[in-house]
Assembly symmetry: C2
Homo-oligomer: 343 residues x 2
Amino acid sequence: MARQVSRASKRSITSFAVAEAAGVSQSTVSLVMSGKAEGRVSEAKRQHVLETASKLGYSPNASAQILRTGVLKVIALAVPNVQQPFFGQVLVAAEVAARSRGYSVLLIDTSNDAEWVERLIGMIRGRLVAGCIVYASDDADERRLGAIRDRILFVEAENSRRSGIDLDIAGAMGAVVSHLVGLNHTRIGYLAARYPKATFRRRYEAFRDQLSQHGLDADPAWRTDATFDLETATAAATELLGQRQVTALFCDDDLLAAAAYRAARSLGLSVPQDVSVVGFNDIEMARIIHPELTTVAIPAETVATLAVEKLLGQLSGGRSLSAGTRVVPLTLQVRASTVPARS
Amino acid sequence: MARQVSRASKRSITSFAVAEAAGVSQSTVSLVMSGKAEGRVSEAKRQHVLETASKLGYSPNASAQILRTGVLKVIALAVPNVQQPFFGQVLVAAEVAARSRGYSVLLIDTSNDAEWVERLIGMIRGRLVAGCIVYASDDADERRLGAIRDRILFVEAENSRRSGIDLDIAGAMGAVVSHLVGLNHTRIGYLAARYPKATFRRRYEAFRDQLSQHGLDADPAWRTDATFDLETATAAATELLGQRQVTALFCDDDLLAAAAYRAARSLGLSVPQDVSVVGFNDIEMARIIHPELTTVAIPAETVATLAVEKLLGQLSGGRSLSAGTRVVPLTLQVRASTVPARS
DNA sequence: CTCTGTACGTCATTCGTATGACTATTGAGA
DNA sequence: TCTCAATAGTCATACGAATGACGTACAGAG
């Protein structure tokens, strides 16, 4: 007896069980549950089935549904590092956008998972997820993902032809350089992110281009790089600022800018009086540190929402909607960390 | 012709297709792919099947597998707000722990999704996820989740009897109060989080208990609350500190502590000379703001890893492993934001 | 009284994999 | 030569829902 019960509780409630309890056929239950009862099931019977189902605590088995229909409402989101506040924002926004379309989001952290490409391909081929948004991938990954590229949407891809959503890096750097040059800064340092991502390379290239348009040079000695680890970054920034060469410093990330603040403090320099600082991303911390940070804002929500929409459009075969690369504009948030250069 | 091709590409590659190409039966392919070939398939044939499969780009259909075996390797993680850096840490750690056991993680943001309980119940009943880790839920949610409680693991639950992992809040507050009292602070302010979560209530209770053990009182006038929104929090902190009553301030979250820094600055007060500040969570920002923040560190990785292990143990029916509540100790990170009170 | 149309349901098959039961082949031992 | 066991493989069915192809019943028309 007890064995009976325990075995019964292992099995889930099926549409068949509901059908039996309600005195109808399994087909009818299916019709009702999937909302296709119109014209095939009377309203009274529909209600009765619905009641029986909720009384038994029935939910359709997703695997069976997917197997039968081939439609699956889960998308994956692959980002380099969820711990970075910016990607947290992207994640939340993507989740909201996906949910409003009835999709769930599965997380992939590409920097903590060496095999992520294989896992993703397996998941997509195995129909565990319908598609994937891939943020800031590198060229090798992108090539390996070629086999399933119609189910992938790239954001800030290495190879820009593969990108579905791209950011207007050049425009942003133009704004940064104009802003600083407008404040009479001519010696601008560059604290780069030590990660082999396209976005960082493109920023530096744009930076140099913009400088030369203003008749200035990007002195390699004024450039250094660091990881996002606080100590490492502070050390790098200390070395750069210790030379007392630059009057302004661009940082590839707000976290690096925060490290620059620490470095300045340890050197007895004041931000912004002795050195103006510009960051990138506009995470919440930019307004928390003192002085508040001038930084390039990426509209994380817009990017995530666009990405979800574009991916879902692509998955449902709407080529027309999803064709081409969408470029998202960035804006420079001017705050207290940038002031005119001392003459 | 074109129609043929497009239709063919819609269907995925099945084990049957591989079987046909390799000249074996579907059963054999299944045996090989699921690693149960031992003693049933010769090594030569096994290799051949494997090659054929990879040549065709075959991955087993997860839905069919799940439908057949009832085993599903996806767990959900429900947290209040992924954007908060602390939950980001939890998320990453959980993802890593889950992956090492072959599981994937599906994200649920409970503060942005009013219907999350229903969605979760549907997902679990519908076998889209095997189980769920629920972080910082409230009592109503927990009650509604009762129907599927054997597939849920609670972390910091409202109703502590339901909790699978709990934090040693009382111990942490003891350390905080001892630390401040040891520095001769007798008038300690309290900047609380304005969210109806058990953890915040328990902190304040522990705070009062600890104070009275030291012969001190918690003056209600020295307590206020705020949301994690920077402006709101700064305003609340400004009002509290503006009274010039307290010499130290405990904050329910590092973000609130950061707001307190801003408030102090705007009031012309200095941290820590005029007011010592203690935070909670020890997010990266605690070391970025100046002076570095004394704060209670929650071992996010430990919590997440324990939670995953306990949940998976629970799911596989290992009652013995999963029984009882595990309490995780917290540590007070003493940094530069707390100094002896002025006499 | 038969015919037709409509409203309501059911039947039977399908999705792709896993697996217990079964068959065929080979070699060794008696 | 016959049996037994081990090895290598196949067959057939089940998992649970969805759905096109079928009834069935009844009202109204002819």
